[in-house]
């Protein structure tokens, strides 16, 4: 059994899985159920000045028969009174002292506002704060959430305000609705953040109802953009974590969020530099018990790899993530089709023919049976065929022996300059 405990910016957690600040952490009842189910920690549904919510609020992207490939919401921060939340945080913490509770906070970017809420929440006893500078809808129209998170100077200031009163670690949750997330990440670091978390949700509109022509979701015939999350956003989130992790000026822990639905996703985020992860949509889609396989699978993975603590994988892939200019121009892979596994659906053929480099042939063997073959000289090694192939193992992308020494584009430019 590998050791799954983490110490994230000074916050100790029995495992790296926290519920993200969202509906699953709306109340003490829910968070206690989550801890019973096996979640390590919880970031409480964002606290702030009371709001009103609308109905309906959620939409989902279903694709080719798979439900909830992506999820979207126009929900605001908590709509429950602050006193109720604080009472329940206190009770939950008392019942589960070893499970960290992080209070997510959002108020206007004013010093007194932040001082006030940090003090009030701190008094009931929390393990950390997460500054919600990321919600892209509703609150941003009132100058909060991503309206703050999109301005590096406001991010820095807000972090400073919170840090001035906080006695526990402060995590700054960043918005992905920005061109370069490392800019706001650095602003948070400058403001003294103990850690950053990413990503909050992405601006989105799920769809339009083909009969009523209303938006999805709609509120009495009108809609507004919402925040996108769930499996579809994972690659975007993973890149943002990676970009921050490899930036030499960002040296604080990162909490990975966005589309994490399995132990595999978790391993990937941690390899790319996340010190722990947060999950929302997977729990909303399947209930708290999805944590069971997430924990078990992570454990077995680490055991199989002979890794004793989950902390050992944090950031292990970061050095492999670089700029395009550092990639080897003389490295080559080609597609090779294993005809004994191939089922002859010809999907690779048509994809290469129509959208790649026309280098797969449909040939006929001595018995009149069709088979597929790649013209390796023509193949550029783009991966398209192996991506569309429905059968595991039917197409391998194989490395060709390198005929010329490695050379990156930067090295090439430098060589040209010299000559």
């Amino acid at each position: 059994m590998a050791d799954l405990r983490i110490d994230f910016a000074g916050i100790k957690s029995p495992n790296p899985y926290w519920l993200a600040s969202a509906p699953p952490t709306n109340s003490g009842y829910q968070v206690q159920r989550a801890f019973e189910a096996g979640w390590g920690g919880a970031v409480w549904k964002t606290l702030g000045d009371p709001v009103l919510n609308v109905s309906s609020r959620f939409g989902a992207n279903h694709f080719n028969g798979k439900r909830v490939v992506g999820f979207n919401n126009i929900e605001l921060i908590t709509d429950r009174p602050l006193e109720d939340n604080l009472k329940e945080i206190y009770e939950t913490k008392k019942r589960f002292p070893d499970h960290p509770i992080i209070a997510s906070l959002m108020v206007e970017p004013k010093r007194e506002k932040w001082h006030e809420i940090v003090k009030r929440v701190q008094d009931v006893g929390v393990d950390g704060f997460e500054l919600n500078l990321g919600c892209p809808h509703g609150m941003s129209e009132r100058g909060m959430g991503s309206a703050v998170g999109q301005h590096p100077d406001l991010v820095e200031k807000t972090t400073i305000y919170a840090k001035e009163k906080a006695e526990v670690p402060v995590i700054v949750k960043l918005t992905p609705n920005i061109t370069d997330i490392t800019v706001t990440a650095k602003a948070a670091a400058r403001g003294g953040a103990d850690a950053i978390s990413m990503i909050n949700t992405i601006n989105s509109l799920i769809g339009i109802d083909l009969d009523t022509w209303n938006t999805i979701p709609n509120v009495n015939g009108k809609g507004a953009h919402g925040g996108y999350c769930g499996p579809a956003v994972k690659p975007i989130a993973l890149n943002m974590v990676g970009e921050c992790a490899r930036d030499p000026e960002i040296n604080i822990p990162i909490s990975g969020i966005g589309g994490i639905s399995s132990w595999q996703d978790t391993v990937e985020f941690m390899l790319m530099g996340a010190g722990g992860v947060q999950v929302c949509t997977a729990a909303m889609h399947h209930g708290f018990r999805v944590i069971e396989d997430m924990v078990d699978g992570l454990n077995n993975y680490l055991d199989e790899k002979g890794i004793s603590s989950v902390n050992e994988i944090i950031g292990a892939s970061v050095e492999k993530y670089t700029d395009w200019s550092n990639l080897d121009l003389n490295y080559k892979v080609v597609a090779r089709i294993n005809n004994d596994i191939c089922i002859n659906c010809n999907k690779c053929y048509i994809s290469c023919e129509d959208s790649a480099h026309q280098c797969i042939d449909i040939l006929t063997d001595a018995n009149g049976k069709e088979y597929l073959k790649v013209q390796e000289e023509e193949c550029v090694g783009c991966n398209l065929c192996s991506i569309v192939c429905p059968v595991e193992g039917a197409i391998d992308m194989v490395e060709l022996p390198q005929t010329e020494p490695s050379m990156t584009w930067l090295e090439r430019q430098a060589a040209i300059q010299q000559s």
């Binding site: 028969g65 089922i343 002859n344 659906c345 010809n346 999907k347 053929y349 449909i362 429905p390 059968v391």
Partner: protein, 458 residues
């Protein structure tokens, strides 16, 4: 045999006979299954379908919610696509060719086809419009899948089409001969209606050769298509065949399917079905559903030679039908009221290979025995309409009308033939789907010939 058609079948037995044995997909099942389709390039299922339905294209339509488009793709290639969705031996055809056989399990193409066509039936969709009239007129004899398909294609090409049908309703064996729990009559009649909606006139209750003469048709029409299928089950040629309680499987099915009656109550009876082809399976399974206590299929060869498909064999076994291989009936013995009560059989063994490549069954000496039976159902194939064929004066081989395999022209150039009437002796298979394809091809061939002669005379 009693001649009054009393309702001898109880309500629950009738329900069993008329309820489809395979439930249809609900919307979610259809979406789940259609999303499994790989959408192969140059998909083998298309080639495996005798009518060449663009299977991946219609499955895509179901997956995307374009069910009308899916139904149209199916019916365009196959005018009896709703019937075929239920009765095609898909394991041998499209599903058998699915590449997923090599990795997981094939797409249930038949079920998806049924889902799309059922949707079109339920939603009363108009899928096709007749072509502009070209002034030519074609007569078709028989409104089974071959005749209907030919009529549909000719109507789309602008021909005036008149179909002569001996029975009261169109559809051929689809309407009358295939057991209702595999193919409800309404499905077949919807297909007939689709063709009629294109302006095709189906003149029912007219038997060509009796009510109307072949030579008149040949004279009056620009071309004639013979699509009369095959006839009754042949006589066994044994003593006692005329006894009460001895049935022709096709008549039995028709009586139940069309009139909801049988000549006697099958409840609790012991039924022996003679033969082991598709018709025997239908005869046996309908007997089981009618309440027979015990149903045995008696076949003179073995499991290996039986012509019924594997899925039919399984289906019959699930209905509790027993199979008795290597035995043949010699004599039927009646009681004092002239009703069959026993069947004398002889054991068989397989001898030399015959012309058809199958080993010939020969009697085992001194092996006769009798079994007690209450009902005997004859299902040893179908005879040919020899009289009609001779009436036309067509060349044939033992009742199988000879055609040019490319043009479907018979020995009389104006007369074409398609479907079961040309089946046999190494020519194709007796299936609804191949009859439909032949009907289509005969129609195209007529179109080609008539246009050619127009160009030549011009």
């Amino acid at each position: 045999m009693s001649d009054s058609k009393q309702p001898l079948i109880s309500i629950d037995k009738l329900a069993k006979v008329f309820e489809e044995s395979t439930p249809s997909y609900n919307a979610q099942e259809a979406i789940d299954e259609s999303n499994r389709c790989l959408y192969c390039y140059d998909a083998p299922c298309i080639t495996a379908c005798p009518t060449g339905i663009d299977v991946p294209a219609f499955i895509k339509g179901i997956a995307s919610g374009n069910i009308k488009g899916a139904a149209k793709i199916i019916m365009e290639d196959n005018p009896v696509g709703a019937t075929c969705a239920r009765v095609c031996p898909t394991e041998e055809l499209c599903e058998g060719a699915c590449v997923l056989n090599h990795s997981t399990k094939p797409i249930m193409i038949g079920q998806l086809q049924r889902y799309a066509t059922d949707w079109a039936i339920k939603n009363e969709q108009v899928l096709f419009k007749a072509g502009e009239k070209n002034g030519k007129c074609i007569a078709i004899i028989g409104s089974g899948p071959a005749g209907l398909s030919a009529a549909r294609e000719l109507a789309l090409l602008g021909y005036e089409v008149i179909v002569y049908e001996a029975k009261r309703e169109g559809g051929g064996l689809d309407t009358h001969g295939i057991v209702p729990f595999r193919l409800p009559k309404d499905i077949s009649l919807w297909e007939v209606k689709q063709v009629e909606n294109l302006g095709v006139e189906i003149r029912t209750n007219i038997e060509v050769g009796k009510d109307i003469l072949a030579e008149d048709l040949v004279k009056e029409f620009d071309a004639v298509i013979l699509a009369v299928g095959m006839s009754k089950v042949p006589m066994l040629g044994i003593e006692g065949e005329e006894l009460d309680g001895v049935y022709d499987a096709i008549d039995l099915v028709e009586n139940v399917k069309i009139n909801g009656v049988t000549d006697e109550d099958f409840s609790g009876k012991r039924v022996a079905v003679i033969g082991a082809g598709n018709t025997a399976i239908d005869g046996a399974t309908i007997s089981a559903r009618l309440g027979a206590k015990n149903v045995k299929i008696i076949y003179r060869r073995t499991e290996a030679e039986m012509t019924a498909y594997d899925f039919e064999y399984e289906f019959a076994k699930q209905d509790g039908v027993e199979f008795r291989w290597l035995m043949s009936p010699k004599r039927l013995i009646g009681d004092d009221k002239g009703h069959v009560k026993q069947m004398e059989c002889v054991r068989m063994e397989l001898g030399e290979k015959g012309e058809d490549g199958r080993r010939h069954p020969v009697e085992v000496e001194d092996s006769t025995f009798t079994m007690d039976v209450d009902i005997v159902v004859k299902a040893i194939g179908q005879t040919r309409f020899r009289r009609l064929i001779d009436h036309f004066g067509l060349e044939h081989n033992g009742g199988v009308v000879q055609v040019d395999p490319q043009t479907y022209q018979t020995s009389i150039p104006k007369v074409y033939a398609a479907g079961d009437v040309i089946f046999g002796k190494g020519q194709g298979e007796a299936m609804v789907v191949s009859a439909a394809q032949q009907g289509k091809e005969a129609a195209y061939s007529i179109h080609k010939q008539l246009n050619k002669s127009r160009i030549e005379t011009a």
